[in-house]
Every structure is written in C-alpha cells, then in structure tokens.
Amino acid sequence: MDKNISFTLKVWRQRGPKEKGQFVSYPMTDIPTDTSFLEMLDILNEQLINKGEEPIVFDHDCREGICGMCSLYINGHAHGPATGATTCQLYMRRFKDGDVITVEPWRSAGFPIIRDLMVDRSAYDKIMQAGGYTSVNTGGVPDANSIPISKEKADLAMDAASCIGCGACVAACKNGSAMLFVSAKVSQLALLPQGQVEAARRAKAMIAKMDELGFGNCTNTRACEAECPKCVSISNIARLNREFICAKLKD
C-alpha cells in the first residue's frame, strides 16, 4: 500500500535570535510515506543524535492539529502544501521521490526566532491580555440557558473560535499583520451577547496592542485566509473593522 521515498531536506538552522542562520541540507532515504512530516523530522533528529550532533529544534505538542504549537514554513507555505491542515497533520505521501523540501521558521518581526525552527509567539498572549475576554469573575453568573442564542450565531462564533493561535496568518502575510488572529477572537465574542457588551472596547484595545508589538497593517491580500489551517475566514476582519469603527466613533 505505502511505499518509501528519498528526498533532500533543506532546513534553516540558527543558534539564537541574534546569530546568523543558514540552510543545511540533509539527504533522507527510504522514508515510508505513511510517516507524518514531524515523525520524519524525528527520524532525522534520531540520526543526528546518534552522530553526536544537536537535533533540529522545532515546536510541536499535540500532533493532531489543535494545540497550535507546530509551525514550519514548508516549500514556501505556512504549514506546508495541504490546505486546512497543520504541519503535524501533514503526511509524507504528499511528497515525491527526489523532491527537495525546504523547511523554514515563521519569519516575521512579531515572532523572533529562538533557535532553528522555533519562534517566540508570546506577542499573541500579550494581544489576548489586552482584551481577548469577557470581564466576568468566577461565580455569580446567570444560568447558561437564560439568554437564548440563535444556532446560526453560535455556529459563526464557533467558526471564529476555532483559531488555534498558531501564527501562520502572520507568517503568510507580506505585511506581517496579525489581523486574522485578532479578528477571530473579536468576532467570536462580538457575535455572542455575553461578549457584545465590551465589543468595541475590546477591538480597540487588541488592535492597539497589535500595532504596538510591531505587527503590520492589513492590506487585504487574503494570504492569511489561504494559509490558515483552520480556514478562519477574512469576513471576521470585516466584522472587526465594524467594531473598530464603532469604537472610534464613540471616542
């Protein structure tokens, strides 16, 4: 059923944020096509360790497309060639014998490189801290069924909420904008009565933080939507803009 393939990996290696990086080529032989991309990197790392070399550093955790930890820019695409999938959900059967596969970290002013393919995405946490919540304390909230919410609204909110905070949208954007990420959270909460109360204020605070942290502006290139592993739609950006204009008008 499955066969084995051989190919060349060109991997970005960089010791630290300030150090110079470079591509290093690794020939890979006889990799079963039912291996996942990250398992393929595990195989390479095992080979490097057995030679006494340091393994390639990359982020990963759940390996099922939900934690948002894996990143990797593969052959010019955030999360590689598959659509609607993260790097950890990518299998080697997508590649051919003899391929040259280029692997780079997310490259963006907002996400400095830590080592090799691992980047610092703590800016996303800071944007969330600026307003990505409803201001409620634990306890003393109304019964869950006291406010009906239409199925349609709930579903739209869920679409937006499925963002995994991976950063592919930023990596894919030539301006390095985090608008898709921000709009997903703003939309989710603005669509629900519980979040609507603070919607305008939230939009303004999160955008201000995004600007402050060095992310670029959105010029509607739609690259983010195309690379988002969760297919978060740019219609969320339109919704964000509406909330943002509301906030500005109130100023």
């Binding site: 059923m1 499955d2 079963p32 039912d34 291996t35 398992e39 595990d42 195989i43 095992e46 490097l48 360790i49 057995n50 070399e53 340091e54 393994p55 550093v57 955790d61 759940c62 390996r63 099922e64 497309g65 939900i66 934690c67 948002g68 930890m69 598959a82 999938a85 959900q89 299998y91 691992m118 610092d120 995405r121 703590s122 996303y124 946490d125 969330m128 801290q129 990505g132 919540y133 409803t134 409620v136 304390n137 634990t138 306890g139 909230v141 109304p142 869950a144 069924n145 406010i147 239409s150 199925k151 709930a154 579903d155 909110a157 869920m158 909420a161 499925s162 995994i164 519980q194 979040g195």
Partner: protein, 653 residues
Amino acid sequence: MAKKIDSKIPEGPLAEKWTNYKAHQKLVNPANKRKLDIIIVGSGLAGASAAATLGDLGFKVKCFCIQDSPRRAHSIAAQGGINAAKNYQNDGDSVYRLFYDTIKGGDYRSREANVYRLAEVSNNIIDQCVAQGVPFAREYGGTLANRSFGGAQVSRTFYARGQTGQQLLLGAYSALSRQVKLGNVELFTRCEMLDVVLIKDENGENRARGIIYRDLVTGEIKRCSAHAVVIGTGGYGNAYFLSTNAMGSNGSAAIQCYRKGAWFANPAFAQIHPTCIPVHGDKQSKLTLMSESLRNDGRIWVPKKLEDAKALQAGTLNPNDIPDEDRDFYLERRYPAFGNLVPRDVASRAAKERCDKGFGVNNTGLAVFLDFKYAIQRLGKDVVADKYGNLFDMYQEITDVNPYENPMMIFPAIHYTMGGIWVDYELQTSIKGLFAIGECNFSDHGANRLGASALMQGLADGYFVLPYTIQNYLSDQIQVPRFSTDLPEFKAAEDGVKEQIEKIMNIKGKRSVDSIHKELGHIMWEYVGMGRTKESLETALKKLEEVEKTFWSDLRVPGQADTLNVELEKALRLRDFIEVGKLMAYDGLNREESCGGHFREEYQTPEGEALRQDDKFSYVACWEYQGAGKAPELLKEPLNYEYIKVQTRNYKN
C-alpha cells in the same frame, strides 16, 4: 502500619457536606489575600481555571507551563464534551444520578463525598463557560444542545463541535489573560518545574513553599517561592511512549512531589481508550484518538473465521468481501443491552481478547473494524458525513483509507490516568501547603473514568473547589511573610536538581532518549497493559530495573545543559516515567482483583468479566516513597460506601 489517613470528609448528610464545609471553613480577608503568593504549576483546564479564579479573588498567583503559551496545554485536545447535571433535556438527570453514574463507572473505587461535590458544582461550570463566551452547540430554539456518551442513559454532555476541550481551555485562558492584565497573575511560559521546595514550620512540619524550575529557553535553573504550591500538570499516560497524550505530557511534577513525600494513589488505574487509530510503524510518535461518538453509529467486528483474519492480515482479502454471516460483531454478541456502547474498559478488553485469539486485522493483527456501511445504508451517506465528516477526513489523511468505502480500523491505546497524587477532600496532598488538581490528582474517577468527565473535574477543581479549600489552609498563613529564595532549603533543592542534570549530561552513552523511552513503553504495554498477571507485573519490575540501568549508563544527550536543550528536557521526563512505571507495576501487583481499567487475568468471571474483591480491596492504595532503589510502602485509605449500594457492573442486560 502506624500512619492513619485523614481524608477530611466533612460531617453531615452527603448532599449537605459541601455546603456545610463552605459555611464553616476559614476564609482570608481581601486585604490579606494580596500578601499571599500561590504557585500554580500547569495551565490546562485545572491550572488555568484555578489561576484565573485565585487571581480574581486577589491572591498573587504565579502560573507555570512548559509550552510557549498557556493556551496550548494538553486539555486543548479533548474532543467529545463535558458532563453536567443540568437536566436541560428533562430526561431524568440529576446531581444524584451523575454522582451515581460516576461512582458506578469508576467501579466503586472513588470517594462518595468528592464525587457528590463534583456532580454538584458541574452545573456552575456550564454557566461560567457560557458567560466567558464559550460557543457551545445550540438548538434552533437558542438553548444549549446535549449529546449522550458511553456509560450513561441520559443526555448530559455539552459540546462545542469536536473541539470542546479547546473551547473550554480558551475560555479559561481568556479569564487567565484578564488576570495577567490586572496584575494578579504572572505567567512563566516555557518554564518546567523540576522540584518542589519544602520548609519546616515552627512545629517541625514540612510545608510546600516553592519550586525549582528550568527556563527552557535559556537553560537557567531558577527558584520561586510562595505560601502554597498547586500542581495541575496532567496525566502520566506517556509512560507507555505511544498514547493519545500530547508529546510533552508528563508525570514528572507528580513524581517530584512523590519523592518529597507526597503519596501517590492508585497508580495502576490507567484508562485504555478503545477507538484509536492503530499503530502503523516503529517510527510512530503518538496515537490519534478517534472520538468515542463514532461508536454511536459504527459497528465493531472481526472475522468469524481464522482463515479470513489471516488473509486480511496478509492483505489478500478485502474486508468488504466478507459476508455478514462471517462477521463477528463481538460487542453486540457479548453485551446485547449496551452493544457497541459499553464503557471504554469493557470495549478495549473485548478487542484485545479477539486479537489475542488471532482474529485481529491490519498487517499487525492488532486492530478491529469499525464499520459505517450499515449506518450509511440506514441513514444515507449525507447524514453520516454531516455527523462524522471531519473525523472521517482526519482518518483518511492519516491512514490513506476512505472510511465511507472501507471499514475503519481501530485499536485500544492509553488515554487517561485515573491514578495520581493523593489528595484529601480539600485537594491537599499529604504534604501541607501542596495541592493537586485536575488529571494529576487521583480523586474522582475511581478505577475508570466516564467520557466527558475529565473536563468536568478539571474545571470543578480549578473554578469551584480549590479556590475555597485553599483558603482554609492559607487563613493561618497571613502572618507568614513572603519567603526569600535565598533560604538554605532552596539552595539545597537547586543543588539537587543541578546534580541530577550534570549526572545525565555526563553519561555520554550511545542511546537517544526516544530509543529508551520506546523500550519503556513496550514493557509497559506488554506487561502492565490491558491484561495483567502476577507474573507479567513481576517481569515488568525486573525489566524496568534494566531500563533504568540502561538510562543511567547508556543515554546520550547532546549539547549543553545551560542553554535550550530539548533532549535534556525529554531525558528528565523519561527518568520520571521509569519511576511511574515501577509504581504502576507495584500497585498492579498489590491489587489482586480486577476493577475498571485494572484487569488482573487471575480475577475474572467465567465469561471473562472483571471480578472485584470488595472484601479485600475496597481501598485507595497510597504509595509512600522510601528512597531510591527501595520498594515504596503501601498505606490504605478505606472506602466506605454509606449512600450507594456496591454492585457488580453489568452492561449485558
């Protein structure tokens, strides 16, 4: 055995215990809360909800996690849903029924008072999450939707598509982020706890006063002090190497506490989930869970004839060519009342039984079919696609097999650990000031956890239980000034950690961490897996000694310790997984009965069902560390059932 275990169960009738507790416990006044520091290790459902709540109460919280953001804790991966006794469906649910189902599902090995409290606060969780903007599934009328889950006869599971854990965790993470902004919580991401620091009080009693941790980016070893330490670091299923847990999930924090004197309870109770994608090769890094909901419509079978099984294994026969009369729907055959919906432990063992007899499929012989042909005939492809489409896509992406046309293949895998750090009713461990919440404690699921109950427990602990009970501890600590990390206890703990790291770096052997971890996993699965015997467990203990020896003599960790070093991180966790493995084997050996996830082959009915030995083993097994290389000592906390009649679980009729 001199030590007596006090689980601090409050007096009074079951339904009033928690209310009574809260009415009489000691509280900390708002001005004093600011003077008290709390360390929370973990940012999963348990850790994040606790940190957010304690922060909003006014305590100064420091929250640690190993990932780059609290939002990535393993709770994010939970798919199915979360239980609550809301009875929104008016189908007869109640706090009592949820309590009863949880005790029964746990095969009568959990504490009544804890479980009742869990059922009681379950409803508050749903209210809280909705207020945070968690987009639960809704009916057209705008009310919340529910589904049913294995082991229950009511619809009490709330869900957000197949991403319930994600949505609940993002809710808690949002609340946590707000507290960070307000200055009540400080985050320590990419920081791994490596030891707990104990300091003696004026009575000479040890209290948890801080932790030693490693900054995973810089490699620095650092100290952090507090008035209390809370562990919320998740389960230890990765001792098996291959599991449904995330790659970074580990049992290390729990083992560090154990080595410092905290009891480890019921380590042998691990849950094996029946519907995972089978192992495909020796390079595989983890197992993917297929949602349990698939068992609602898929039919599980293996061939009746051995020659068919052989042909399937050899790849010379297509499963679709086996006629219905030659298919053995073994769950429907053995359990007519529950059929394909029997609890997880029962379904898993039944699959193993067939595969052991040679009827397994896949090239390994280690898989059974989960067939949607019948559901497609009955409901149409569209309905099936609507319900399970994303799961089918995921299955196809991983296996390259189209489940609309061919039966899926599944096999059981380690999924959840019921055992963990022993805690009393207040979620305090046997060390004062050290608390444990979420999957890393042993508390509520007995010998087997029901689906959709782990999320409930994690959030119950973090939002609604710990924030009360910890105050009962902290109320007399308000006079205790903040601790300096220059105290000799901190230095001693840090030196200990550094010494271990140096020792590991200096082995300079030939084996990678993963290669030894795989060996460990193999032993665990083979000898401490789904079916255990006295002999297998004794073999395991011997083999674990050997693995430990290999680790300390032949491990190779490249690079330096004082900088980012992923192999070193993994090595430290592997060291602790070996300890976990031993504890599981000791506990399994001691527990001469079968119950829930723990199946001792010597103790089964003639039909192959689990046989409990209530007269001998109706207790929580607490293990106390006795030093490196020594067997741990067993302490027993008896389980007295005052409100529930203990019965044999029966899913047949």
